[in-house]
Amino acid sequence: MSDAADSAVGPAVGIVANPLAGKDVRRLTSGATPVSDAVKIGAIRRAVVGAVEGGAERVLISGDRARLGQRALAGLEVPATVEVAELHGWHTGRDSQLAAAQFRDEGVGAVIALGGDGTQRDVATGWRGAPLVPLAVGTNNVFPFRIEATVAGFAAGAVASGHADAAEATSQAKIIDVAAEGGRRAEVALVDVCLVRGAFVGARAIWDLGSVSEIVAAIAEPDSVGLSAIAAAVAPVGRNEAGAVHVGLGCTARDARIVQSDRHIRAAVMPGSYSNIDIAHCEQLRFGQPVTLSGPGVLTLDGEREIVLGRGERAEVTVNPDGPHVIDVGAAVAAAQRRRYPFGPAVSGR
């Protein structure tokens, strides 16, 4: 990899693919779709073709135990240098975090992340302001786009090469900073941070809504699925709107017998499952306005249990405007076409 870094001259695109995305316990607890390796391998391959078509001269793919990158490249011939980065060997989301940080250090101009909300969070953890095409290949896909990998790759390649003007095609996402007491652990999230009862991360996903007590959501859109869908039903906030929302939950029930009331909403909290939720309180948050969540309990980041808070331990949660620079695929393709790429006059690359 160090040799490659030395030779990093042309526009480069990085691809992060999470081998564990779309395979967790939510396949058993709800109707969530299983995402096989074959789906990911195909998407990587198509994204590589698109990225090179869009102007990338170099494509780096994160390494993983499933060897998704190597398998995607088998027999593929493209007029660019395509490499699989070294395997970091954690076999967890940390692999994706380290790959994103490596891409930043190597001057990558755009990152394509294949996975659900958790994978996108890993990329933002490793490279906070990454120029990012988030591609939905996971379970909960609030943050990423459901769009074909070929054109997603093209958009990343066009932005990295300057064939599409980044200013025309990107907008900076919000990011949620989570600081557990004593600086013990600092994490980020892109969609929501919740406090749930319990003392174990267990199988990580959340399916017992009765355990959820508080939600801080940076994105709470009416068509969201996940815990942020609860916030969206109370006080929606779009991904490109300033601020966030903080909701406290009362009792919850999966059946529909709760009586109609202003305090009750119904939302798609898991794919294939609607639930009734009793809202205890709700407040709008400004950027930088802290919310304190107190243990005992477990903090979920974008729907996965991650941080255990002991009794009396607290975490400060703030929503900030300086997250990844998200590349709008349609806007990027249109911007390149306005310049008549690849047929028009040459455009100077970055």
């Binding site: 395979k23 058993l28 299983p34 390796d37 749930v196 174990f200």
Partner: protein
Amino acid sequence: MDPSSETLLDLHRRMVRIRHFEEAAGRLAEQNRLPGFLHLYVGEEAVAAGVCANLDDDDQISSTHRGHGHLVAKGGDYGGMMAELMGKATGYCGGKGGSMHICDLDLGMLGANGIVGGGVPIAVGAGFANKYRGSDRVSVVFFGDGASNIGAFHEAANMAAALSLPVLFVCENNEYGEFTPRDRTMAITDVVDRAAGYGMPGAIVDGMDVVAVWEAANEAVSRARRGEGPSFIEAKTYRFYNHHGVQTLGMKYRSDDELEQWKQRDPIELFEDRLASAGVLDADGAQAVHAAAQADIEAAIAFAEQSPLPDPDSLLVDVYTPTAYSGATP
């Protein structure tokens, strides 16, 4: 979502009892006090414990050549197990089965199995019987990543899904089939990818986290009891000892770094840390569980060593059934 404190302590006790049985068996084998092959389950305890804690005695499991942990987790008796390993008449199978064929039908343990993948159709057959009889029993099959390449697995998985049988498939993916790494024998990384091909839901869990395994198994067992058919759980795990025995036989098929990395995630140590943080069990309390298991295993070894070998006159007992076939349905 968390298990109750009672369940947490139960999970811990089951894991510790597996570990002490296996460590003792390994020591005895090294001293040539146990005959035959010995496949130790050390490192994989969270899988058997997390699954079996969701089962009743009426529920059935079928097991593998690495089956001691499954029987201990199902509530197996140390004395009968150790005597069976030593080939003694007081063993679970009268001393004639040994490590790889140990069973206890009273606990629903349908048998360890020396044939790789052989346990899969047995559990599916039990699942068929359970459904046919209209009972709410669930059967569970434990099998390895290598077994998922065997024809019997594929036929049984297809049948379980096609007939919507109350069966839980638990793949203990420890990355090696005997001495061969998984990627030499399979073009996929996650065995769970195969579940979709048979039309059953499947999930990956961290096999070193007993709470994660318990949660997933709890959901899968509930699905089966509700009549929603089979589920598939792939537990990512690792064995700390060799394919068989304790020593490595000088065959370098796993790196020291890899082994060390997995040992950093020892399922019992991880769980004891979490139990202490959660205020459920402190270090002294955990030590008492270890001490009790150790005392039990020492008593079991003494019992087994003092027990007689099978009488030569019993040579053909349990080989042929003494009961004439009546043609009656059960």
